[in-house]
């Protein structure tokens, strides 16, 4: 069973694990991306309040159980099957993203498939141990992630300039809204997968508090990432495919501490493994709920899951360069259905039909 604190750090690290997704936004809102990030945090707080209302109505229940209560067993299971696909889809996007990054910048001679297999295998081993073990390590991951951000921000201080934030508010409001929406869809409201895993929370864990503070911590981490990148790169970040990587590349301390971007890359791998492991765990739970039985041979299911995610990551996206574009125009909308529309609908229906845990 996991505690409130582990839950909170788990959510924060999960969000931090998507810091490569900043490129989805920087190409829209350029040097004003931090404004989009602030707006996204506000949007996410609204969405999170829907989650919290749901959890208040059904204390001790996870998202999958709530679906079955509100929609009935069959429709609920159908919806849970869709959430299984959602987890697989998000895992595929995350895996492809890291695969592209590694093949493009770190190990260009190594085929992407090797990277994907290695990362997916590691995540499977994590997921096999279960969400409780993963979240137990969440604090350590968070400290690692925050220390890396602090360290490279400090080392980048000589390269930062305040004028890089100028000009401000030159874009139309629709750009900010779109940027905020994309960031809300991924990574901020991706935390809905944690609602699937709530049955593993300790009985006295305050999951609502954990959810809220985890989102704020993760949001703050993303905001700091944006601020560091903008202060370092200015308007140039909107033309780069990996702004964070390019920013860290500028670190040069006495000609000894240079090329630290590779350290960032490995930090990113660690955070991404954490994120994918959580997604794998959620996928297992959702699949188990869909078929109505617990998988005794979890390793075998994880093998199938990994293969499915790797195949999806390899063949659903034509090229890494098109991924940000696809996510901005399609992915964010598809994922927001699972993150915003379904939870809102579930809350609305439960209010309408006056379904509460006590009544159940």
């Amino acid at each position: 069973m996991f505690t409130t604190r582990q839950f909170m750090f788990g959510i924060a690290t999960f969000i931090g694990g998507s810091s490569l997704f900043t490129v989805f936004v920087t190409q829209i809102t350029h040097q004003d991306s931090y404004i989009a990030a602030l707006l996204a945090i506000l949007f996410s707080l609204l969405v999170i309040s829907v989650y919290i209302l749901l959890l208040r109505r059904f204390p001790g229940f996870g998202l999958l159980e709530i679906h079955k209560l509100v929609y009935g067993k069959t429709a609920g299971r159908l919806l849970n099957a869709l959430y299984t696909l959602f987890c697989i889809g998000f895992s595929a996007v995350s895996l492809r993203n890291i695969g592209d990054f590694f093949t493009g910048f770190i190990m260009p001679e190594t085929p992407m498939l090797v990277t994907l297999i290695l990362v997916a295998a590691t995540c499977s081993l994590f997921a096999k141990k279960g969400i409780v073990i993963i979240l137990r390590n969440a604090f350590l991951f968070f400290v690692f992630m925050a220390s890396a951000l602090l360290l490279n921000s400090l080392l980048l201080l000589p390269n930062m300039e305040l004028k890089n934030f100028l000009p401000v508010f030159t874009l139309g409001y629709d750009a900010y809204v779109q940027g905020a929406f994309v960031l809300t869809a991924a990574p901020l409201c991706e935390v809905i997968v944690f609602l699937i895993l709530l049955p593993y929370a300790e009985r006295d864990a305050d999951v609502k508090k954990g959810l809220l503070w985890g989102l704020l911590l993760g949001g703050a981490y993303l905001l700091c990432t944006f601020l560091r990148d903008i202060a370092t790169l200015g308007i140039a970040l909107s033309y780069l495919t990996e702004p964070t990587y390019e920013a860290i590349r500028l670190i040069n301390l006495m000609n000894v501490f240079s090329r630290l971007e590779i350290v960032f890359a490995f930090t990113l791998i660690i955070m991404r493994v954490f994120k994918l492991s959580v997604l794998f765990c959620a996928a297992i739970r959702a699949a188990e709920d869909t078929v109505g039985r617990t998988f005794r041979r979890r390793g075998l299911f994880l093998l199938f899951l990994s293969v499915a995610v790797i195949l999806a990551a390899m063949y659903l996206f034509r090229s890494g360069l098109t991924l940000p574009d696809w996510f901005r125009n399609t992915g964010a909308y598809v994922f927001s259905v699972f993150e915003i529309v379904f939870p809102l609908l579930t809350l609305f229906l439960s209010l309408l039909r006056r379904i509460k845990k006590e009544k159940v």
Binding site: I106, L118, T122, F126, V256, I262, F266, I269, I270, V273
Partner: protein, 517 residues
């Protein structure tokens, strides 16, 4: 006589029976007939030359008695004045007592002067006593036997511990004698709550084992768990605490031991005061403690005797040394094979000049060097000290000089291996783990570069995160995170601030100091 013949037949039949637990005499009562008893004992001990049967008579009725002991396990100077003389002479000076003793208890209270004696009504108890160095007295016409503590066998003096040398702090080390070891602990914790529970393990070796804990501090469930695990050991031999450790540790790790061992009484006393349980095994100078955490591997008892700043710095040095010992060589291989761009240009040029002419890829070079180093280390440890030094010297010259000048190994590789080797010795508690992990990480780095190394580290973290020591997470207090317990984990705050015991160990009695920080 028929009865004796029956018993002897039964004994000889049982002796041939398969299995290690066919000890028929264990539950057999010690009868009144001395001749039968002696015959049985002779049968039990076989023809062992060191088992002495000292026959004597006492009183005016010339009552027959026999004293049994093992030569070499008892103190000869205690046998005559404390056992034989009181029976043969002191109790019978002057008139014969009007009431002759009829039970062993009466003999004990009327005649014996020995400090510690007890009665045995079965042969099992008698044998157990004699085999651990007590003397047994059997009297004709009286049921049972008297077991008198007369232990006195040669033992090593208390010396500096061989593996835990300190610059400051006590220099006493445990020895092979269990009683001396428990006395060393008692000398440090003069509390009536210090509890020592004895048991015997090993059906052939009958090794005495003592469980030590502080009754008012240690968690009851932990103590019960330790006892249960010890009782579950069904084997013929326990020759060292290492046996016990392997039998009762939580399973799950081929790399890490989830029980700590120490040669230093002050270190074990410190752990007992934190709520841990110690296991003292007769014949072993290493006392086990449980539960044990990963962070403990980088702590020494000396850390508490010096200023907290230095203690914390030393702990960080030890932890860093462990990390260097498992990562330095794989990192070197990953950098030179896959990520050359990370190396500063001047350094890269000099490394290229040194490594350019070597025939093997970096990973093979590293493997060769590691294997040679491990061989040299093993030879240096096992050989007599002067020969061991010679081997080390020859190895160092061959590897350090000849292999490099012959162009087989690059000089930077030798430096990387040397750093690795020295670092491994700075954290001796994890030296075995670091040897295997280094090899695994080396293969990962050689095949997949930095990516393999990173994923390997993640898997190591996952592995450590799943381990438990007697039900407590092995990575405590970092994973799961207990802020209060981190005052004395990788850092050591001033003693004045260490007001509580680790929460995962002594939740029942957490407060250890009434001082105000």
């Amino acid at each position: 006589m028929k009865k004796l013949a029956d018993i002897l037949n039964a004994l000889s039949r049982r002796k041939d029976a398969p299995g290690i637990d066919n000890t028929p005499w264990e539950s057999m009562e010690i009868g009144k007939n001395l001749s039968v008893n002696v015959k049985l004992m002779e049968e039990m001990f076989g023809k062992s030359g060191d088992v002495i049967f000292r026959h004597f008579t006492f009183g005016q009725k010339r009552t027959r008695a026999v004293m049994v002991f093992i030569d070499g396990l008892v103190r000869a100077d205690r046998i005559a004045p404390e056992i034989v003389k009181p029976l043969m002479y002191d109790g019978f000076i002057g008139d014969e007592p009007k009431v002759m003793p009829r039970t062993i208890a009466e003999v004990q209270s009327l005649y014996m002067t020995a400090g510690e004696s007890r009665t045995a009504d079965r042969f099992g108890m008698l044998l157990e006593g004699v085999l651990i160095g007590d003397a047994a007295v059997l009297i004709d016409g009286i049921k049972g036997a008297m077991i008198i503590n007369a232990k006195g066998f040669p033992q090593r003096n208390i010396e500096d511990p061989q593996t835990e040398s300190v610059l400051r702090g006590p220099r006493e080390g445990f020895v092979e004698n269990m009683r001396t070891n428990t006395a060393l602990l008692r000398r440090r914790i003069k509390s009536p709550f210090l509890t020592l529970e004895m048991m015997t393990i090993g059906e052939k070796t009958n090794t005495p084992v003592t469980i030590v804990y502080l009754r008012n501090v240690a968690d009851k469930t932990l103590v019960e768990d330790v006892k249960k695990r010890l009782s579950s050991i069904k084997t013929d031999a326990i020759l060292d605490s290492g046996y016990v450790e392997q039998y009762i540790s939580d399973t799950g790790s081929p790399f890490f031991s989830t029980m700590a061992s120490s040669e230093k009484p002050d270190a074990v006393a410190g752990k007992l005061l934190e709520g841990r349980v110690a296991i003292v095994v007769d014949g072993s100078p290493y006392v086990l403690t449980a539960p044990s955490f990963f962070a403990e591997s980088f702590q020494t008892s000396e850390d508490y005797y010096i200023a907290p700043l230095f203690a914390s710095a030393l702990r960080i040095v030890r932890f860093s040394a462990f990390m260097i010992s498992i990562l330095a060589l794989p990192l070197y291989v990953a950098l030179t094979t896959y990520h050359q761009e990370l190396i500063p240009t001047e350094l890269l040029l000099s490394m290229a000049a040194a490594e350019g002419n070597t025939p093997f890829p970096a990973v093979i070079e590293a493997l060769i060097m590691i294997i040679v180093f491990e061989i040299l280390k093993e030879a240096g440890i096992r050989l007599p000290r002067p020969a061991g030094q010679a081997v080390s010297m020859v190895g160092a010259i061959i590897i350090g000089e000849t292999a490099v000048s012959a162009g087989i190994i690059g000089a930077p590789m030798v430096i990387a291996v040397a750093i690795t080797a020295v670092s491994a010795f700075a954290a001796p508690a994890q030296a075995n783990a670091s040897m295997i992990l280094r090899l695994l990480f080396l293969l990962l780095a050689g095949i997949f570069g930095g990516l393999g190394l990173t994923l390997g580290l993640l898997l190591l973290l996952l592995h450590l995160g799943t381990l438990t020591s007697f039900g407590v997470p092995y990575l405590s207090p970092v994973v799961p995170f207990h802020p209060a317990d981190n005052k004395d984990a990788l850092f050591r705050l001033p003693l004045k601030w260490l007001l509580t015991r680790p929460t995962s160990l002594a939740a029942r009695n957490p407060r250890r100091s009434r001082m105000k920080p």
